[in-house]
C-alpha cells in the first residue's frame, strides 16, 4: 500500500515506539521525552507549557494567505490511579479517563517503574454488580508495607500490552492517541519536503482523556486561526456493532460532529474538498458520544474554527485497540494536503 505523501513504514515505527511508552493523563513525561527527541530537529521552536503539553512550531513560508494553524494530538492514555492500599497489599484505584469495569477484569497493568499487576475483583453474587470500587490491582505484594513502598497512593498504572501487527492492522494499547501523535510526527517530516505557507503549531497535548485540558490552555497561548485535532474515533464494523459510518480501511475520517464539537462547516468542507481533489481515501464521521481536543480548542477566547481528522479504531479504551495503517497514512496525507494548500477566509454568514 502506498500513500500519497506519508512514509507508511516510518509511521508504523513511530506508533511502535510511542504506544508502549508509559503516559497516563497527568504523567506524560516519558512520552513527551520520546516525542521531543523526534521533534527537535524538525521544528523552529519547541517549548513545554505549564501543564506539560509539548508545542513545536514550524514557521511557514509566509504570504498574504498565511495563517496560524494548530494541530493537536494527545500524548496521554487512560490509566488507573491507586487511591488506597488494603492491609493485604491490594491496591484500590480510581479511573483516570474512561474505563468500563468489564474491560479491566483479568487484565495486566503496569506502573511507571515497571511493576506489573493483575486486576481482580471482590466475590460478586451477580456479575452485573461489577464496579470499579469492587475491583483492585494485585502486584503480588506480601502486605501493605511492601505495596506502599512499590506503588504508593497516587501511582498510576496503564494497560500492559504490546503492539502486534496483523496484515495492515495494528493491535495494542494506547493507539488512542499515540497513533495521532505518530501522524503528527510524520506530518512534521513531510512539511520539510512540502513546506507550508502557514505557521504550524504541532501540539502534543496532555490530559485529553480527563477533560481536554491541555488543549484548552495550549490554544489560549497560541491563538490559532484554525485548528485540527488528530485523534481516534470509533468504528461501526463489528458484529451487532454500533451503527456508525466509520470502518477500518475506509480512509481518513473527517469529523462532522461528536459530543464536544460540531466541526466548523468551512473546515470540514475544506478537508472533504482537499481529500477528493487529491484522491485521498476518506469517510465522514459522526460520533454520537465522546470528544476530542478540538472540543476545547474551538471555545477558547473568542472562538477558533476547528475540525478533526480521525483514525477509526475498534475496541476503544481496551488493551487491544485496533487501527488500520491505511487509515493512519490517509490521515497523514490529508493533513499534509490541507497545510500545503491556500485557505480562503471563511464566508460563514
Amino acid at each position: 500500500m502506498s500513500a500519497r505523501y506519508a512514509d507508511t513504514a516510518r509511521l508504523e515505527q513511530f506508533i511502535r515506539e510511542l504506544a508502549p511508552a508509559y503516559g497516563p493523563s497527568g504523567h506524560e513525561e516519558a512520552v513527551r521525552a520520546l516525542i521531543r527527541r523526534h521533534v527537535t530537529p524538525l521544528a523552529d521552536e519547541v517549548l513545554v507549557d505549564r501543564l506539560g503539553s509539548l508545542i513545536a512550531l514550524i514557521r511557514g513560508a509566509g504570504g498574504t494567505d498565511a495563517r496560524r494553524i494548530m494541530i493537536a494530538a494527545h500524548m496521554d492514555e487512560i490509566g488507573l490511579m491507586v487511591t488506597h492500599i488494603d492491609d493485604d497489599g491490594l491496591l484500590r484505584f480510581a479511573a483516570v479517563g474512561g474505563h468500563k469495569p468489564a474491560t479491566l477484569l483479568g487484565e495486566r497493568v503496569v506502573f511507571a517503574d515497571g511493576t506489573v499487576g493483575a486486576i481482580g475483583a471482590e466475590k460478586l453474587d451477580d456479575i452485573k454488580d461489577l464496579k470499579l470500587d469492587r475491583m483492585f490491582i494485585d502486584i503480588g505484594a506480601a502486605g501493605r508495607e511492601e505495596a506502599a513502598a512499590r506503588t504508593p497512593v497516587g501511582s498510576t498504572a496503564v494497560f500492559h500490552q504490546e503492539i502486534t501487527a496483523s496484515g495492515s492492522r495494528l493491535i495494542g494499547k494506547a493507539l488512542d492517541d499515540r497513533s495521532g501523535c505518530a501522524v503528527l510526527l510524520e506530518l512534521m517530516h513531510q512539511l520539510r519536503a512540502h513546506p507550508s505557507p502557514h505557521d504550524v503549531y504541532c501540539v502534543f497535548s496532555v490530559q485529553e482523556e480527563v477533560g481536554l485540558r491541555g488543549a484548552r490552555t495550549a490554544a489560549y497561548a497560541i491563538e490559532p486561526d484554525l485548528a485540527l485535532a488528530v485523534d481516534v474515533t470509533a468504528a461501526g464494523d463489528t458484529p451487532k456493532g454500533e451503527k456508525l459510518n466509520m470502518t477500518l480501511g475506509g480512509g481518513a475520517a473527517i469529523k462532522v460532529k461528536d459530543d464536544s464539537l460540531i466541526a466548523h462547516p468551512w473546515v470540514r468542507q475544506l478537508l472533504v474538498d482537499t481529500a477528493a481533489q487529491q484522491g485521498i481515501p476518506y469517510q465522514m464521521e459522526v460520533l454520537p458520544y465522546g470528544g476530542t481536543d478540538a472540543g476545547a480548542i474551538h471555545l477558547t477566547k473568542s472562538g477558533v474554527p476547528a475540525g478533526a481528522v480521525s483514525i477509526p479504531t475498534r475496541y476503544l479504551h481496551s488493551p487491544v485497540e485496533m487501527v488500520d495503517m491505511r487509515d493512519v497514512a490517509a490521515a497523514t496525507d490529508l493533513l499534509v494536503a490541507m497545510l500545503t494548500r491556500s485557505l480562503e477566509d471563511p464566508s460563514f454568514r
Binding site: D49, R50, T83
Partner: protein, 344 residues
C-alpha cells in the same frame, strides 16, 4: 476565634458578602492591598513587586444552602438547594431565612398523609417546605421574599477531645487558615483569594485566576471524611485526626506532581502528620484555576470534615492546626518546588 465566627456567618453561594466583610476586617492589616471583583471575590495581595513565582492561595467563602422559590398561600416557603445537598439531610433541620435571619424549620408536607412505604423513601426537596410560623402568605411576606437565601443554623461548639462541630467548615476552615497564613511574610508575591460560588461550579475562582494570573496555586478546602461504620476503607476518603489531606486526583484536577511531592516533603521534613485523600470524586477551585489562561499548576490540601455538606459537620482542631503548619512549610519550600514544574 476566627474559625468559629466565620462558620456561623450565613453565606450561601451568591450571598457571600457578610463573610467577605468579616474576612476583610481580619486581613486588611496583614496585606498590602485588596479589592472585590465583579463576582464578589476578595482578592488580596502582599509583595506584588517581589521576584516570582507569583503564588495564589484560594479558599472559598460560600457554603451550601437553600433559596426560597415561592411562598405558598398557607405561609409555608418552597425552596431549592444551592450546591450539592443530599435530600436526606434536609428534613427537620433548623434554618435561618433571609437578610433578617428569620428562624425556620424544614418540614415535610403533608407528613400525616405519608403511607408506610412512602415513609421509607427520602422526601425530595421539591416536596419539602420551610416553616417560619407564618399563618398566611401575607404574614410570611412581611419578613421573607422569593429569592432570599436560607442557611443552616448550627452553632459552633467543641465536642469531645479537640473536635468541633458546626456548619460550613467547607470551606470556612480554608478561609480561617488563609486568614492566619496571610500574617506570614514571603519572599515572593502572594495573592490570598477568598472566592465565591465554588459550590455551584467553581465560578469565582475561574475569573479570579484569570485576573491574578498566578504561576502556581494552592487551594485550601474542607473535604469528605467518611471514617464511619459500614464504609469500606477505600471509600472513607480521609480519617478524622490523621492530619491534612493531600489530593492526588479529583474530578476536576490532576495536581502537578511536583506540587504533590512538595506537599508530602514539606510534611515529612517537619514531622507533620498527613494523609492522602483517598477518593477521586468531587472538585475544588483548583479545577477551574489550573485551566486558566495558558495553564496554572494547582494543588489542593484539605481539612477532613465528617458529615460534610450537611447542616452539621465535625472537624478536628489538631487537623486544622497541622494543615496550617503544612501549608506554611510548603510556602517556605516554594522556590525549590516551582523549579520542578513543567515549563519552568
Amino acid at each position: 476565634m476566627i474559625l468559629r465566627e466565620l462558620s456561623e456567618i450565613p453565606g450561601v453561594s451568591g450571598d457571600e458578602h457578610r463573610v467577605r466583610e468579616r474576612i476583610w476586617q481580619a486581613v486588611r492589616d496583614r496585606v498590602d492591598g485588596g479589592r472585590v471583583d465583579s463576582l464578589g471575590n476578595l482578592i488580596t495581595w502582599k509583595g506584588a513587586g517581589k521576584p516570582g513565582p507569583k503564588v495564589m492561595i484560594a479558599a472559598h467563602m460560600d457554603e451550601i444552602g437553600l433559596m426560597i422559590t415561592r411562598i405558598d398561600n398557607d405561609g409555608l416557603l418552597r425552596f431549592r438547594t444551592v450546591g450539592g445537598i443530599d435530600d436526606r439531610v434536609l428534613a427537620a433541620k433548623a434554618v435561618r431565612v433571609g437578610p433578617d435571619a428569620v428562624p425556620g424549620v424544614i418540614g415535610m408536607k403533608p407528613i400525616h398523609l405519608l403511607k408506610a412505604d412512602e415513609a421509607k423513601k427520602p422526601v425530595p426537596e421539591q416536596d419539602l417546605v420551610i416553616d417560619i410560623g407564618a399563618a398566611s402568605k401575607e404574614q410570611a411576606e412581611q419578613v421573607v421574599r422569593p429569592g432570599h437565601y436560607a442557611a443552616f443554623s448550627t452553632a459552633y461548639a467543641e465536642v469531645g477531645d479537640g473536635v468541633v462541630k458546626g456548619k460550613a467548615f467547607d470551606d470556612r476552615a480554608g478561609c480561617a487558615l488563609l486568614v492566619e497564613l496571610l500574617a506570614l511574610e514571603f519572599p515572593f508575591p502572594v495573592y490570598g483569594v477568598f472566592t465565591v460560588q465554588e459550590e455551584i461550579g467553581l465560578r469565582g475562582a475561574r475569573v479570579a485566576a484569570y485576573d491574578v494570573a498566578p504561576d502556581l496555586a494552592l487551594v485550601l478546602e474542607g473535604t469528605t471524611c467518611a471514617d464511619i461504620p459500614e464504609t469500606e476503607p477505600h471509600g472513607q476518603s480521609t480519617l478524622l485526626g490523621a492530619g491534612p489531606a493531600i489530593t492526588v486526583m479529583d474530578g476536576t484536577n490532576i495536581p502537578a506532581r511536583p506540587l504533590v511531592e512538595g506537599l508530602v516533603a514539606a510534611a515529612e521534613a517537619r514531622n507533620i502528620p498527613w494523609q492522602w485523600k483517598r477518593t477521586a470524586f468531587g472538585g475544588t477551585d483548583a479545577g477551574s484555576i489550573h485551566l486558566s489562561r495558558a495553564g496554572v499548576p494547582a494543588a489542593t490540601v484539605s481539612v477532613p470534615c465528617r458529615y460534610i455538606h450537611s447542616p452539621c459537620a465535625f472537624m478536628s482542631l489538631r487537623d486544622f492546626e497541622n494543615t496550617r503548619r503544612l501549608v506554611a512549610g510548603f510556602l517556605e519550600d516554594i522556590p525549590g518546588i516551582a523549579a520542578r514544574l513543567p515549563g519552568a
